[in-house]
């Protein structure tokens, strides 16, 4: 894990002092809200429906036990005893009071954390594959590159007033768990003839105008990665639309100018700035890489795991859904579900955070990850320790065996918290999860991704859900649109709108009709929903969603 050097430490402490001074001047009236607002946003402090919200960066979703324990401490001391993990691998505290923010930021700085650039028109927290450094299918650990990008983008003087926010995601594996095709820049680390480089994808994004990113360059050598990324952001910084917020993201710039023109301009800019980097970035990258050396794997028998797997059906169900293949023999990646049926997706109490921190320290080489799917991961657990890990999780209400299943729902905070929201998301997620738990169908249904956003900005990635749900305000009433067939992986696809929306009390029955139709239509138990959808198209699912329209058509 990256450890702050003197520069990082001084930078973060200085920023805490600056922002604390700005808060003091806002409270004593020296700063107006118009003057203060951009300052607080640069430091991750929003004003939401019921309270302030502080968004804390968890760079590329990686943290350790000490950091997680400090988040628990913050939740308990200055909030309401919990935190909300987000689709950008961050954590949000929903109830801080303005005078307490300096103390919270100081507590974060004590464990090398901050809230810088988690908002505003800057380069946001760089996200990465949450299985980085652990996944069996990984070519290269993407975190050193993500950390290099974090350092480069933090307080980058050219990029503090961009046309709009800018998000970068990195993966080092073939299977895309980082949703790189829905980011402003998506980087896929790969090897060509033994040399390391990146495939550069630009112009992906969701929101009002969802777009799948386009390949800008199939292979940029790793030595050129940083100047190349800087060239992309520079080109957009000048070309990007500042006259219209809805057209300001790079996806629109790419759409309006064409990928070929953006490529030409990027190459031109790259040629101009490349030499100015002078290899410093590569020297830095090598220093960063030293922070990410893999743990010393232990080699011991996995008998305890095999015995528990054979004897305990609850453990077996959890192992079957929540474990993923690890690169080291005898190890597994364990995903801790923050999606207990009926609970708020992504929320963890301070006590649960402490349990997860303790497990990481005892059994997980002191590493934890946050996934964009709002779960927590112990990336390196020896299989022989998994029965003990599972028992501890069970005692803390954290052993829900539903990763990748229909109740493992992404949901934004929606109108329960967010000022931008047009409808609630959380209760819809809670009700869907509860309903399918009651039906005892979710393991039979299999792999299924439902993603819910409470407004068109799409923080809940609804366009990428196998079923996406978008909450809207229709004439003063909550209304939910369904999209079908979205996919956030390397086969990225935007879901298509199924038809008219559903009222709040109609949405769960509508989802149930869709799933029942899938169970009838699938070729076998091994064909997941998304495959059935691709095979048959939307028509049979639309018929299930709108039975009245179907009857009318049949009668005609």
């Amino acid at each position: 894990m990256y450890k702050y050097n003197e520069f990082d430490e001084a930078f973060v402490r200085t920023r805490v002092a600056q922002f604390s001074g700005q808060i003091a001047r806002r409270i004593d009236g020296s700063l107006s809200e118009d003057e203060f607002r951009p300052l607080r946003l640069m430091n991750g402090l929003y004003l939401q429906l019921h309270a302030y919200m502080l968004r804390v960066a968890i760079p590329y979703g990686t943290l350790n036990a000490r950091k997680m324990e400090q988040l628990a401490h913050i939740a308990e001391t200055w909030d309401k005893g919990y935190g909300h993990f987000t689709t950008r691998q961050n954590i949000q505290f929903n109830w801080p009071k303005l005078p307490d923010v300096p103390a919270i930021l100081t507590a974060l700085a004590d464990v090398e954390m901050h809230a810088i650039q988690t908002s505003g028109n800057t380069i946001r927290n760089v996200t990465a594959d949450h299985f980085a450094g652990a996944a069996a299918d990984e070519a290269t650990d993407p975190r050193p590159v993500a950390e290099l990008l974090r350092q480069w983008s933090t307080d980058h003087p050219e990029f503090q007033f961009l046309p709009r926010k800018f998000k970068i995601a990195v993966t080092g594996a073939k299977h895309d768990r980082a949703v790189i095709r829905a980011h402003d820049i998506g980087l896929a680390l790969l090897r060509r003839d033994g040399a390391l480089g990146v495939q550069v994808i630009v112009g992906g994004g969701l929101g009002r105008t969802p777009m799948i990113g386009k390949v800008l360059n199939e292979f940029v050598p790793i030595e050129d990665m940083l100047p190349y990324c800087e060239a992309v952001v520079s080109v957009w910084n000048l070309l990007g639309r500042r006259d219209n917020k809805f057209k300001s993201r790079i996806k629109i710039t790419v759409h309006e100018h064409g990928i070929d023109e953006i490529r030409r301009l990027t190459e031109e800019r790259f040629a101009m700035i490349r030499s100015t980097f002078g290899g410093v970035d590569q020297q830095l990258l090598r220093e960063i890489e030293a922070h990410f050396t893999p743990p010393a794997w232990v080699n011991r028998p996995v008998d305890a795991y095999d015995a528990a797997y054979a004897a305990d059906p609850v453990f077996r169900a959890w192992a079957d859904t929540n474990l993923a293949a690890h690169r080291a023999p005898g190890y597994a990646i364990a995903t801790i579900s923050l999606k207990a049926h009926g609970a708020t997706p992504g929320d963890a109490t301070a006590d649960q955070m402490r349990v997860m921190a303790d497990l990481a320290r005892r059994y997980g080489h002191d590493e934890l990850r946050i996934s964009h799917e709002q779960n927590v991961i112990l990336p390196h657990v020896h299989k022989s320790d998994l029965p003990a890990v599972h028992a501890a999780l069970k005692a803390a209400g954290l052993a829900t065996a539903n990763i990748g299943l229909i109740s493992d729902i992404i949901a934004c905070p929606g109108m329960d918290y967010c000022t931008l929201a047009t409808a609630r998301s959380i209760p819809v997620a809670q009700q869907i999860a509860t309903r399918f738990d009651e039906l005892k169908l979710e393991h039979d249904i299999g792999a299924f991704k439902i993603k819910i956003s409470g407004c068109i900005n799409a923080c809940g990635h609804h366009h990428l859900g196998h079923i996406g749900i978008l909450g809207l305000d229709r004439a003063g009433v909550e209304n939910y649109q369904i999209t079908l067939g979205g996919d956030g992986t390397e086969n990225a696809a935007l879901g298509e709108r199924a038809g008219p929306g559903f009222a709040y009390d109609e949405i769960v029955p509508a989802i149930e009709r869709l799933v029942t139709a899938y169970l009838d239509l699938r070729a076998s138990r091994d064909e997941p929903f998304i495959e059935t959808f691709r095979r048959l198209g939307a028509a049979p699912f639309k018929a299930a969603l709108y039975p009245a329209a179907q009857e009318k058509a049949n009668a005609a």
Binding site: R26, I27, G29, S32, E33, L47, Q48, L49, H50, A51, Y52, K80, W95, P96, K97, L98, P99, T344, M415, D416, Y417, R424, I426, P427, Q430, D473, G476, V477, E478
Partner: protein, 102 residues
């Protein structure tokens, strides 16, 4: 033809706590919707909003539609209903914090 004016309340967030506040009958900010002053005149609404926007201790004041109710104003849109009560996923916010004196 000008639009018919519908009754309004003035609401904002408190600077220090960030929580939802309403302009009350005596010009003081109150924490509970039913204690808000229902304004039935367009000119008065605009004048009071201008004053509210100039108040350094509140953030983002605006006019919201409301209707008279037996215990004071009530919201006419679900967004204001959530603001007046708190989130639906936890017993947090005004739904548990409001006491008789606010």
């Amino acid at each position: 033809m000008s639009r018919v004016f519908t009754p309004k309340i003035i609401t904002a967030n408190a600077l220090l706590e960030g929580d939802v506040i309403y302009l009350g009958h005596d010009g003081q900010w109150v924490r509970c919707l039913r204690d808000a002053r229902l304004i039935e005149d367009a000119a008065q609404a605009e004048a009071q909003l201008a004053e509210a926007l100039a108040d350094p201790l509140v953030v983002g004041a605006y006019l919201a539609d409301a209707a008279p109710g037996p215990d004071g104003p009530r919201s006419t849109h679900f967004r204001e209903t959530f603001r007046a009560a708190g989130p639906s996923n936890y017993p947090h916010g005004k739904q548990v914090e409001i006491t008789a004196d606010v």
